[in-house]
């Protein structure tokens, strides 16, 4: 069974000082060209209620009737608790922080995770580190796929109207992670 690296595992790798993927340079409001080739977007397979690309990167899955996968919905909720106070509603950016919905497409998954776990600073622009925050780390894939769906314009602004049910595996992992 294929399974993508969990954020906790990635955090552990980073903490050990092992080489991580070089992070993308830009974290500004760089626009996204939806029609361009985005290898980290298309869903290739499903595993226990989560969707992945062929390269095992978590991704969103939106059905024709607009039903979103559980992670995208969950990511909407967690984003608007933990992230929107700086990055604005729906990942649209603010006077304070960049349009993070675009970053989720423009940055690769591992660089995105690295940034959330460890934070980064650019003068007086500072992204905090969330590595020890369970409310973020246990839902990092959720937040990531939600923002990627927003960046690709796969879902409109606002609360997704229809969603898939939460799978047993997702619930199990959540319980284990939140303790």
């Amino acid at each position: 069974m294929k399974r993508a690296a969990s954020p906790i595992l990635v955090a552990a790798i980073l903490a050990l000082g092992l080489p991580a993927v070089a992070s993308a340079q830009s974290w500004s409001d760089q626009p996204v060209d939806i029609s361009a080739d985005h290898p980290e977007v298309a869903s290739s397979y499903e595993d226990g209620g989560k969707y992945f690309t062929a390269d095992d990167v978590p991704t969103f899955n939106i059905k024709e009737d607009g039903t979103v996968d559980w992670l995208t919905f969950s990511g909407f909720r967690r984003y608007h608790s933990e992230c929107h106070v700086c990055h604005g509603p729906d990942g649209e950016g603010s006077t304070y922080a960049p349009k993070i919905k675009n970053s989720a497409v423009n940055m690769d998954y591992y660089a995105f995770v690295d940034t959330v776990v460890n934070g980064r600073a650019n003068g007086n622009s500072v992204m905090p580190h969330f590595g020890d925050n369970q409310n973020v780390m246990c839902y990092l894939d959720d937040i990531y796929v939600y923002l990627k769906a927003r960046g690709m314009d796969a879902i409109p602004r606002g609360r997704p109207a229809k969603k898939e049910a939460k799978s047993d595996l997702v619930q199990e992992n959540e319980n284990a992670c939140m303790g």
Partner: protein
Amino acid sequence: MKKLFALTSGIALCAGMASANENLSQMMEDPGQWVIQTGDYKNQRYSKLDQINKDNVGDLQVAWTMSTGVLRGHEGSPLVIGDTMYLHTPFPNIVYALDLNEDGKIKWKYEPKQDPDVIPVMCCDTVNRGVAYADGKIFLHQADTTVVALNAETGEVEWSVVNGDPSKGETNTATVMPVKDKVIVGISGGEFGVRGHVTAYNIADGSVAWRAYSMGPDEDILMDPENTMNLGKPVGENSGTNTWEGDQWMIGGGTTWGWYSYDPEENLVYYGTGNPSTWNPAQRPGDNRWSMTIMARDADTGMAKWVYQMTPHDEWDYDGVNEMILTEQTIDGEERKLLTHFDRNGLGYTLDRVTGELLVAEKFDPAVNWTTGVVMDKESPDYGRPQVVAQYSTEQQGEDVNSTGICPAALGTKDQQPAAYSPDTELFYVPTNHVCMDYEPFRVSYTAGQPYVGATLAMYPAPDSHGGMGNFIAWDGKKGEIKWSIPEQFSVWSGALATAGNVVFYGTLEGYLKAVDAETGDELYKFKTPSGIIGNVMTYTHEDKQYVGILSGVGGWAGIGLAAGLTNPNDGLGAVGGYAALSDYTALGGQLTVFALPN
């Protein structure tokens, strides 16, 4: 006469002023200076100046401008002491002393070194609401909670103390209030599980005189079980712990980042406390005292004389920190010492500020729907409590349920942006938000120094109204009625100024400085400044000429929530994106603009 006063205060400045705070009270009487952020101890933000009045304000022109060199949200206002203007900025919290005799030439500049790690633990932008003055010192409360006293003449640091711990999420955005020989200091961090407190430091050397927590044991909260009154009854023992489960009070919130007022006769300091942590009400059963509370404390000892909790067991993030405006008005033929407060929860309260008796509690935006009103019957066991509408109760709807259509939104019918009061019209002039929300609470865990929120929010303009996100209203505090209301496209996030010229000034998020008629609300003047306004309007004279000053520099909560525009998820797809985006009107940039009449 005015000149003479300016001269004497100038001499006092040079002499170093040993007993400065009587002096500070006197200086507040001089309309030529703007010596405290709130205009005076009463927080009236009213100026006796009338050179600029409702007949000539239409001729107003820009006299001079200055860039602050900082791009973040600019709240608060400059001070004017004698011939010097003191101008602050958001993080990194620069202070400039500007010589008004030389077109604002910089006399000195102070720039603290602060760890940038404080930036991300400041929920919602690195704003700062300005410096204070007393005893020949300028007081700056930095983002990292360092309180520093600067020599007003030279900018040299006279003392500095650390009020909190940013690694636990304790930060600062507020100004401080000098009272007698002390300076009163609050703390931010309600979204990080901080336990709020107010601390009085001795002006002479920065040592702690007293500290009063918002919740905790009686000795921490400085309440006397017998003599501290709550709506006419003693608070009793352990009032700061017995409405919390277990030791949840230790991360209980109730931060103190708003404004402070002071009544010298009663020797009482007034302020409000913020939301209980977390935003998920199911996780903290009980009334969560004394979050969301109006406090009246003795300035010398910190002991609470009376308290009133406006929103027991908050379910919506309706912080109670907004300013307490002190007035003397006649009610039922009797002159009373009043306190009026426009709360985030959408109710305008008037209390007797000597006893804490509740006189008026009425909605100051008709959209407010989470409550049917406050029980005013003194015999009722629910006396003083707001009656919560089940449909809009995020507690009763429960965890993981999205409660929709709640008005106001978490940012409140009004946030910290201070209202003004004119004794001429006996009206309050109130900048407001006209925004509603969906709110879904869920379980979160606490980690020191990390956000402790636990709710998802969607905000949108009040439905079935004018479509805008704000109003600027005139309010009768005795009756609890709106006299007039000006619809605004965006939330009004700027502090108002009322003057004896029968003019009221305020700024808008698009960047307009507006002047309106104090009686009618008719617009008399507007000018678009370089960036959106979240600062507070002030006025002063220099060489007998009246000036009006305002900081531009969009940001703060408004800049975050409204930058990309709002959408109403309940409107259906057609309306999505139909509301104005602030980013279509303005961009970042800190600037002071000073206005005057043509010569």
